[in-house]
Symmetry: C2
Subunit: 175 residues, 2 copies
């Protein structure tokens, strides 16, 4: 699966939420997410631009691998593999046995909306602030996902430069 | 979890099955198991005596890590971590992205019995033959799991030297 998304820092989430509701965005729920990020013993994911994450979300545990960001897109685009696992805690022990090590935990509240086929996330990230993520629909027939993302950002009144780094990178940069 | 087990090669499974049923062993079912074994990019599990396996079993996918065999036991004893995963195929892609690589697949039919608290497996392994595995119950109050295993083997009429290597190692040795 190829993920194309745009992350923007916003001073507050309320104006975006209002615009979404006025424009008939569909609320998909609010979730408390805790992400454990691991690095590898044989290559530094900070250098290779990969990520290995266990997400704890509403009783579920989802393992995610993200490949390096692809250069030929303006926004963030990368390979992503997701597998549900029965126990994140046990899997963390397994990863540690293999020589992987935890680098950080990212905790956020995420409020999701469906809007013009895209997924809009209003994020409050512990220690970082408030952000909006716009993820293009994963459809082969979608000609220009980047234009769709730009249109949506404008429609929701969000301006500013897209942030190409992850919450993990932002968090590590504050240390 | 510490796993203590004994594997023995047998010329045929029928005599063992008969003894188990006469001695009121409880049949736990017969399973077709397919195991994908992976090696790591940063250390050779053949040298470190570890194992990373995805087991496909009756619609389930179970990820297993086995640590090095412990030297202070006569039979096989090692740390084992098991985590159910939603898709073994997706997880194999993820492992490959991380630099791990598949070394072999082991296919077997396994017929399980509960007997005197232990788990007895009658195994027919593709390309290897027929084996019986006796796994001691994982109970803290069990004083001498090795003696229990020896008693059970005698009771079931199984003789021969315990095989300390895994099916994977046996299979790789035939190549």
């Amino acid at each position: 699966m190829l993920e194309i998304e745009c992350k923007l820092r916003v001073p507050a989430l309320e104006p975006v939420r209002e615009r979404l509701l006025i424009s008939h965005g569909t609320p998909l729920g609010t979730f408390a997410e805790r992400d454990s990020y691991f690095n590898a013993p044989h290559r530094d994911f900070g250098t290779t631009d990969e990520a290995l994450r266990i997400r704890y979300l509403d009783g579920r545990c989802i393992l995610t691998y993200k490949g390096p960001k692809k250069k030929d897109y303006h926004f963030k685009a990368r390979e992503e593999i997701n597998v549900d696992i029965a126990s994140g805690e046990e899997f963390e022990v397994l990863l540690t046995s293999l020589g992987f090590f935890k680098v950080a935990e990212v905790r956020k509240t995420r409020e999701n909306y469906r809007f013009r086929g895209a997924t809009i996330s209003l994020d409050t990230v512990e220690g970082l602030g408030t952000f909006v993520e716009i993820e293009a629909p994963n459809r082969i027939d979608l000609k220009d996902p980047e234009k769709l993302i730009e249109d949506i950002a404008r429609e929701l009144g969000i301006s500013g430069t897209p942030i190409l780094t992850s919450y993990l990178e932002l968090l590590l940069a504050t240390r």
